[in-house]
Structures are given as C-alpha cells and as structure tokens.
Subunit: 362 residues, 4 copies
C-alpha cells in the first residue's frame, strides 16, 4: 500500500528485480502531450546498469514498451502503462543470501514485515524498481517543459569527501553527461572515477551527495500545510533507495546563521519581485517563489559489498557474509536521473494541483 505517488499526476510502480518485469502506470497525465518511447528510453539509459566501467556490470538493455495511454505519439489523458522486461538474471548469486541477511539491506525487514521474500535478488527493494519512476519522470519533465518551461538538472555534487564546484544557475544536461560520474566539475569528476574504481577493487563501496536544480518554476506551486513543496520533495527523495538525508536551499548549513544573515531580501528586477539571495531554495512557506528550486540528497555507501561482514541467517544463526553478485560500488552516477525524475514528478503533480484549485498557473 505504498507504491502510489502523487495526487493528480499519480504513478503506481510495480515489479521486483526477478520476475516478469518492472514498470509503472501513470494516471492523470494531461492529454495531447507529445511523447515517444525514445524520450523515455533516453532517461532509462542514463539509469541502466552496465553503462560504464564504474557501475555494476549487470547488463540489461532495459527497453521500455508503452502499453497504453499514448496514441499516434500523443497522450490520451488515460492511464499510461510502461513495461520493462527483466532479463539478465543470475539468481544463483543469491543462493547464499537466501538465508543470510545482508547488513544494512532490506532482506531482514522485508521478512519481518511480510513473512515472505523473493530471495532471488533484491526483490522490490532493488534499485530496479526505480525504472518505473524514471520512465514516469521522463513524461513529467516533458509536461513541465511544455506547459511551463521548467528545466530540471541533477548532478553529482560530492563523492565521499570529493566535492565539485558547480554553478546551479548555468549547469546544463550536456555538462552533466560529459563524464561517466555525472559531476559537471570535470577535474573533480576524474578524481571521483579513480576513487570509485579504487574502492571497488577493495570490495567496498562509497556514497555522496546529489544536487538538483529546477529552473523557471512557476510561482505558487506547493500546498500548505502538509503538502508543502519541500515536504513532498523530501518524501520523494527519501523514498529513493540508499538515501539518508535531504536539504533545501541553505539546509543544515543555514542553522548556524542568524536571521539577518539568512533571510532572502526582496528587490525588483525588470518589474518582477525577486529575491537577492536564494537561501530559501526557491520555496517560502511551502510554496515556490519563482527562484530556482535547489535541493541536495545524501546517498549512503552501497550496502552490498564483497568485503566479509558479520551477520545472521533468517534463523538467527551468527555467520559471516562476503556478498556475491554484481553491485554498484557507488550508486550516485545512476542516482542522478532518479533524483531528476522525482523532482519532475513532484513539480508536475503540484502544477496540476495548483491549476485545479486556483486556475491557470502564471
């Protein structure tokens, strides 16, 4: 009962890492939006495994099929179902993990919750589940661009303690895609790639921070008091696998400033009310103010590692485990399209909600 997201632009994802496939049903998509399987595939290719030397070698083409809701290249306003078949399944890697719980993974909690689990792989807790989100996000991005000119860019800001210098106001998709780690600071990116390879060789893993900016967001999106824009963004991001923290604007760093230092003063620019600074991250009182929306998401190091760790079996026996299988030593390069997708899903839903309650958005 937790695989739905959104109110007016509502998605429902399905699928485990092993089984027939994964996908999504989108309910409430506006009609007459041009969309092609290629546009969706472009985003899926950015998240697919095996795309570079620093991701998992699990190699799946992840070709998507649009099953419904699109006719002659345009959305019908009816539910859009998208399916990606599962293919490269080496479930024998999981034989040991059928009984041994991986530390900091979801094996034990799924067993506790449901009393049953598909032990052939990560099941529903696999990052494969995010395929449906990324596919839906591709459509949400298109709608945001067409209806309101919104532009969404995410990128790797930090890997472990290597932090890139990136200007969120000007960074482009091309900058992000210019290297395999998806950090637009190319010098830093090289060091990141080296670090990831080194960690992988040690059978270990690392984490970091993804930053995401949304530009040209209309004023007025966000529904106080519970569905504030930052609240829905926080939920969206913290629902991604491996996330441990969320910030908007000044974030935790803002807590060491005084109000007079922190406040975003207003001024007028070309007849428009704008803020001089953007410590608010584009949201005030839960509602977008027309400035860039800027968030950061903390991703922990991948839980599944080759290094031996202490654990227990599902029967409670204390054992050790050196995980087999093919896993990302660092999820961040592939997390970039996921963060963009979740940003798009939240903004698209709020765009429609605002239009519903208050009429056309500005």
């Amino acid at each position: 009962m937790g695989s739905n997201f959104g109110h007016l632009f509502r998605i429902s994802t399905f699928g485990e890492s092993h089984g027939g496939g994964v996908g999504v049903v989108i309910d409430g998509c506006p009609p007459k939006i041009e969309i092609s399987a290629d546009e969706i595939q472009f985003e899926l290719d950015r998240r697919r495994p095996g795309q570079s030397k620093i991701t998992t070698p699990r190699n799946e083409a992840d070709r998507c099929e649009i099953l419904s809701g699109v006719f002659e290249g345009k959305t019908l306003g009816t539910p859009i179902a998208i399916l990606v078949r599962n293919q490269d399944q080496r479930s024998q890697d999981y034989d040991e993990m059928a009984v041994k719980y991986r530390p900091s993974h979801a094996d034990a909690t799924y067993d506790a919750k449901y009393g049953i689990r598909n032990w052939q792989g990560g099941g529903r807790s696999s990052a494969r589940e995010t395929i449906g989100r990324v596919a839906a996000g591709a459509i949400a991005k298109k709608i945001l661009r067409e209806i309101a000119g919104v532009e969404i860019i995410a990128y790797v800001k930090r890997i472990k303690d290597l932090e890139g210098v990136i200007d969120s106001n000007t960074v482009t998709l091309e900058d992000v895609e210019s290297n395999i780690v998806r950090c637009p600071d190319s010098d830093c990116a090289e060091q990141m790639v080296d670090l990831i390879e080194q960690v992988r060789n040690q059978g270990d893993s690392i984490g970091g921070v993804v930053e995401c900016v949304a530009r040209q967001v209309p004023r007025g999106l966000g529904e106080p008091v519970f569905d504030k824009l930052e609240a829905d963004l926080a939920k969206a991001m913290m629902s991604l696998p491996a996330t441990k923290g969320f910030e908007i604007g000044s974030g935790f760093a803002g807590t060491v400033m005084t109000g007079s230092e922190h406040n975003d003063e207003f001024h007028t620019e070309n007849g428009e009310i704008r803020t001089v600074t953007n410590r608010s991250g584009g949201v005030q009182g839960g509602i977008s103010n027309g400035e860039n929306i800027l968030i950061r998401v903390a991703f922990k190091p991948t839980a599944t590692i080759r290094k031996e760790q202490r654990t227990v079996t599902n029967a409670g026996e204390e054992v050790t485990l050196a995980a087999k299988g093919r896993h990302d030593p660092c999820v961040l390069p592939r997390a970039v399209p996921m963060v963009e997708a979740m940003m798009a899903l939240v903004l698209c839903d709020h765009l429609l909600r605002q239009r519903g309650q208050c009429g056309e958005v500005q």
Copy 2:
C-alpha cells in the same frame, strides 16, 4: 488541498493565526483508547507561546476543547475534532506588513498562489497552525504507547553552533523538560539560553537542530516504495514551519564513510536479531527494524526579525522593513513538541497500515 496527513490515522488541520480558531479533525482513530483533554493540553502547553523568557511574549492560553469522537473518556472510532480559540490578537502590529513582504516569510508566496491573504498576521503560515498537529500527536502517542509500547522523545540538539551531548538511548521527557530550551545537556542548555537572549536583544534570530528518537518501535512499519518510513518522516518534518533539512541515522555524515564502515552488522541478542550499530536509524529498506528510530531536523533562524531589511511592497515598490509584532528569536524550544507530534502521527498511521495489510503487528 494540502491540509490532510496520513492514510488510516488521517488528520485534517484548519485555522489561521487570526480568525475564530485553529484545530484538527482526526479520522480513523482506533476505538476504546482512553484520552482526556488534559493529556492533549499537556502537549499544547509545551508548544504555546509565552511559556518562558526565550519564547515570543504573545500570550495565549491555547485551551483545547474536544468537540466529538470521545465519550466517557474513550475514543469512539469516529472523527475526533479539537478546537483552540484564537485570543491575543494584536493585528495592528501587522499594518505595515499588510503591504510589505517579510523577507523569507510566506507573505509573497501566499499572494502569488491564492491572490488573497489574511494580512492581519501569519495567516495559515503561522506556527499557530501546528496546534492541530500537536493535539493530534498527543492522541497518536497514546495509541502507540498503548498498542505497542512505543516511546517518543525529541529535544534540542543544537542551537546555532552550540551542540549538546545527549544519549538518545536513555534520554527522558524529564531530562528534556528540565530547562526552558529543551536541551537535555544542562550545561549546554544554559549557554543556549544566554545566546538566544543575546540574539533577541540584537533584534535578530537563530536556528538549530532538533533530534528525535522513537524507542520500542515494532518491526515492519513502513510501506515501500514511496511510503517508506523515512520518506513519510521526511515529509512530516519538512512540512513543519522553518525546516530546511532532514536526516535519518548517519544522515549526511554517513556519505563520507565506506560501506564496510557504515553497514550495521547483525548479531543475535537474547534470541532476537539485532544490529550492532544503528547508522540506519532504525529503518532499513524503508521498514522499521526494531532498533531506535533516530532523526534530525534543521530549523532555520526565524524569518521575522526587528532588524531593518530591504524588501518590496505587494505593488513591487522597494522599501525597508523592521518587523513589529512578537516573535520567537529561536523556534527550537517550541519546535520540540511539534517534532514529537509528527513522529507520532507517522508511526501511528504506519502501525494501522501494517495491521491492515499484514495482520497483527509483533
């Protein structure tokens, strides 16, 4: 369309800072739970203004009235409506702010969204709105305690750069309530009080971090993939006024560790599967694992300050504003019961959802 929260234990808050009153309707409360207005009032007193020298002098008793859903001291299973009347309204303080937008406040965005605003005060964006949450949270806490023995404690962890040393495993409500800043580290608390008074005298404000622990939480709470426990907690906390960030377990600090350092190894303790460390913060794969749930929330410095700032009027004229009215120089002492309430609302809702889908919780 954003004033509802929860699925099975569902609350709907209402009310602006000025007008008839504020309150909440709780739908889906289990029947036969003993609850009194006094238990609710206890929590409301912890959040009310004027409670100490470091909070706003706005002095409202905030007496609650239970309008429905409780009979002879027990919940009926029907909606519980709770009302707190507004009283100490000095709307003349707001005359200037009727036209001048307070920097980093919600004045401008409410105007942009709705095209209308109650300029007599903070309106719906006032912290007064949280009265409904705290009242509902008091009932959620009671249910969690009665059905599952859950214990929730929040406290001030940091004010600006003053950070307390607190053991989340053992801290008690008494420790928290032992000083007016609600930081259980009493030495640090004294410094915090001094700092808040000093900042207030400067007409400025400060922020900080609230930490919250939930102990004895049953395994299995959380509904992947979107309603993961940490996702709903993040949304809950980021829906509170003035929040800029959320962390669970290791949070952002966890992103500089390797997987082998970060993972919570399993062992067996008195026949139960437990983790040796708790960097996961009590949640793995979006589902509670029986360890303490531990989160942190970043609160920015209060936006409304007496110091003069640059701003604009609603007509776009550039002006300056030195805010009048009575405001907290630091929201954190009063934010503590709000964070507890939101933790309780999330856990209570997930307890009922788990019971619905999977049967009795362990």
Copy 3:
C-alpha cells in the same frame, strides 16, 4: 477512516448527535469566492429539525460559525472550518435504547464494529452528521454558480406511492420551497403532507424518492474509469442516511427498453452538439455531456418508530421496543437539501479535477 469526501475539493465531517457539536473542514476550496455565514445558514435552515409540522419536533437553531478560511467575506484558499453546536439534547429518551438495539438502525453495527458507542442518541449515524455536508454543499454550490453557472435543484418526487409531476428542465428553488414537503407539484404535495401526518399518528414512518437535477453543467466532468461522474454521484447519495437505491437518467426503467429506443440520438442546436432525448441523464461514458444531470435517490421509511417491535439487547436478550425520542415520520422533506449538497460536492470536485488535468473547463 471514512469521513473524508472528494479529491481536490475535499471535505472532512465530524460530530455526533450528542457532544460538543458537528461540523466540517473543507480543504481545497478555490480562493476569492465570496461566501457568507448567511448563505450557509440558508441551507442549514432547510435541513434543520423542527422547521415544520411534518418534521421532528427536536428544535435546534443549528447556527453555524465559520472558524477559518474566510477573510473579509472571501475564501482564502485555506481550509474552511464550520461549526454548529449541539443544543437540544434529551438523552434520557435514549436510556432504553442504550441496551435495546433499534431494528434497522445502526446501533448494533456500531457496537459490532467499534465495540463502543455513544448510546445517548444516534451518535455518528444520526442525520445530524449531515449538517457538515449541507454547509460544505452551500459553498460548493456557490463555486459552481460563479465559475460555471451551474444550477442544482432537488425536490421530493414521490412519498410512498404518491408521485408528483415535475418538469426537471424548469423547476425552480421557489417551486420547491413553496410547500413544507418540498414537492413542486402542489396538489400532490398536499396529499403527501396528509399522508405523513396520518402515518405519524400511527407511530409509523414512510419513505420515498428524491429527484435532483443539475443544469448548465460543463461538458467533460467525470474521471473514468472508477471516478465516473455517475459512480461518484452514486457513492455520494448512498452515503446519506436511509438511502437504498440510486438511478441516473432512465435508471431501472431503462432496462426494459431496446437500444434503439433507449439511445439518445445526437443533433445540432445553435451550432452545439446536443442529444435529442436525455435517457443518459447527462452523463455518457462517465463524463458529463452538457445535458441536464438527472438522478433519483430512494429513501427507506425512518427506522426509529413508536410502534412496538421485536428486538434484542446488546447482551442478546429478546425484548420489545417502542422507541421514544423525537423522530421524523418521513425524512424526505429534510433530505432535499442533503441531496443538493452531495450533488454540489461531487460536481465541484470534478470541476476542479478537470481543470487540473485538462486546463480551463468550457
């Protein structure tokens, strides 16, 4: 968990027949709609007890108070809370019914479901609960009229076997309010009043059918496949107390026609596509087609009667009961504003949903 209704225009009702009061919170109301307590009171007066010689003598003024969401006579876009206090409570009438279950009433099922019940009256199953619906419906009607020119009229079509002749295309509110039974066929209305008085004198009760028309409804309202307009209307009406059936357009009578007799042929009228007949009742494929929406609702005879009946106590002892208390011998005159309110709530919600997904309504 069933006291919420609507998606974008969402209401949450609260309150039992005995206790502090009853009311409603409306979330998602469009901003800048002019609304006064008087407009709401007008509708409440149409449903209040003691309004005429054929309704229950329970005499409550049912004065409403708007607690929030309205400022200087206009909606703010924030939640609107409306409260009506309970007053004329003669709970001693219910002493016997504290233990004896009234046949065909909700006493036994509430006990079975919740294990607790406010035995001082009908509790949550009392028709008093509909106060919140009627108050919210008054606002929904206003929005529909202002945004789209929609007009909603309900009336008593039949009492027992006395059926009025009424033209749904032309009937007015004045026609409906011209007599106490709210049947616009005045000759029939007189007979109905006589019948109701006669039945009341026998300590018995009767039922009948309310018809409701919505005129000038925009095309395009209704969200297939589950939230079809007729599906949401059916739910709305069947959620009213004492309802046993729902029909739209031709209804059950349509089932004895052939397709060629039943279909509504299209033609063009002043450049607009219209149907020649309206057996569809204004909805085709779950979506409004611009013709009048026409529905009928079956209300059973009031369950609580003075005549002696066989029943059991909550301990299962077989007894008899001749109900005390003051009850309507026929609910239909007071059900008219309830049916109108539910029609308005459904149409208003769908108007906003259509605007959200597809842009401005025609």
Copy 4:
C-alpha cells in the same frame, strides 16, 4: 486521475481496446496468499468475448500474465501487475466511427473532455477495460475466502422483462454457470437466450438487471460516513460500463413500505444476534451486520447497434450511422463476473481497513 480504486487493497487499471494491452496493478495485497494465473484466468474466461453464441464474436483468448508480486505461487505483499495483450483488433470497423459519434456512447464526451481519442475502437470506454478489474477481483475473492470465508455469487436476475426466480441464500456458482446467459432459473434462461438472439437479428440490443449476493461477510465492514459499505458498493457498480442504477436490500421497492413493515426485527439464533428479515441487504448504518449482502445493478441496452440512428460528426454535421463492428446484443451474461469482481474489491478493501483501524475482524 480516476483509474484507481480502493484504499488499502488498491487497484490501478490501464489499457484501451486497441494498443499494447490492458491490465491492472494491485497495491496492498496481503502477503502469503496462494494465487495462480489459472485462478485469474478462470474469471477472465467468464468475461471474455466470443464465449458463447449470445456474446460478441470478437474472439480474444485474453490470456493473463502475472508480471510481479507473486513468487512460488504466493503473494509477496508487493504490487501485483497483471497484463493481457490485445489481439483481435479489426479497427477498420471503426473508420466511420472515427468521425461519427455513436449515440449514448462515450465518443463525444471523451472528445469533449480530453480533446483527443483513440478512434480505432472504444478506447478506454471499451468493456475491455474491465479485464483488469476481473483479474484483481479474482485475487480479492481468494483473500476474502481465505481470511474470512466470504462467498460471492452474481447472476442475471432479469433480461428486459424476463425475470428469473432465484434464492440468493442457496444459489451456487454451478447454478450460474449451468447456462450461457448466467441466469440460475433454467426455464427463464432459455427464454432469455431466445430473446437475445432475436434482438441481435434485429440489429438491436437489450439490457436488464444483475443481482449479487455476498454470504458469510464478517460484521463491522464499512466506514461511515462517506465510505459506508453501500456507498462504496454503489460507486463500484456504477463505475462499470452501461450501468444506470443500483439498489441494496429492499431498494426502490422499499420506499412504498411503512417503517413497521420494512424494519428488520432482531432475534437470537444459536446465541448470535441476527435479523429476522433482510430488507437492509446486510448493511445497517453503512456497516455490515453479518447477514447476506444483496444488491442489484441495472444495465442499459448496449449503445452500439446495427440499426440506423441519427447522429452527428465530430464537426457537428448531422448524419446517420448504422454501427459496424462486433458487439454484444446484451452485456449481462458477461457483466456477471464484473459485478462479482467489484463486490470482491469493495469487501476486501473494507476487510483490511477494518483490521487496520479496529484490529482483527470477527
């Protein structure tokens, strides 16, 4: 935004008559329920076209594939996705209907709502959409049977004016399936078959009434005041294609009785509180009372007929249309499994909701 149904047992259907396929995603299914594709296929075969001489000759095998959520024959508690491919598509039949609106069909309203439509067939308004419902209903039925012993049987009660005599207390699935019209009164069934064939030969269509009983339903299901059991059943049934009316228990016929005639008196039977009669149809105050739930649904004559009718084109030109394509002259035999499915979906959702709010059901 209307293709979701249910709260805890939540389904999301997708698919048009033409395109990749149709199906459903079920979110919130309890774990560890045994389910096979064969059990689902059994129900799909009861609704599939071409199953007998009185249904449409459109011949599709409608083989279902379970894509996720089931592992080694048992539900995982994760979303269950089920897909049925579209196959026998003769869209050339629809060339004329691409521009000519079929009277009383959804062509014109879909165009009005979305401004776009898949003109190759009925699109989303095709009865093919119910495949997803019937598949989900098969699982809901299984859960109801396993957890609570509930038994659901629907059957054709009336075709045009031919009404069968059927005892809802004892009728079995075998009785229903004993003839192609699914009317357990075999003499009447023969006449019905003759009538349907005769009407089909005339290029016309007919409607009727389906009745559905649910037996051994636990007490306490239903969530007043909006999600009363009869309200959710009414919505469920009125969301099926071609429905015009809904009744529970005595229905419209109950409106001509007096209260003393209509009320279901209580008595005690083997220590249990039971009603002597069942005019309530198993629901009192919106909550199941342990008696049989009994409902009736009115289906209009099929809108698409071969007989020539007046209509207009999408450009507003007045024309005539004699529909081509293959259509059911009477939808009722195939509607029987749809009504059962919707009954199962409502009861299953309410079973889980009751368990969530109030604990284990009796």
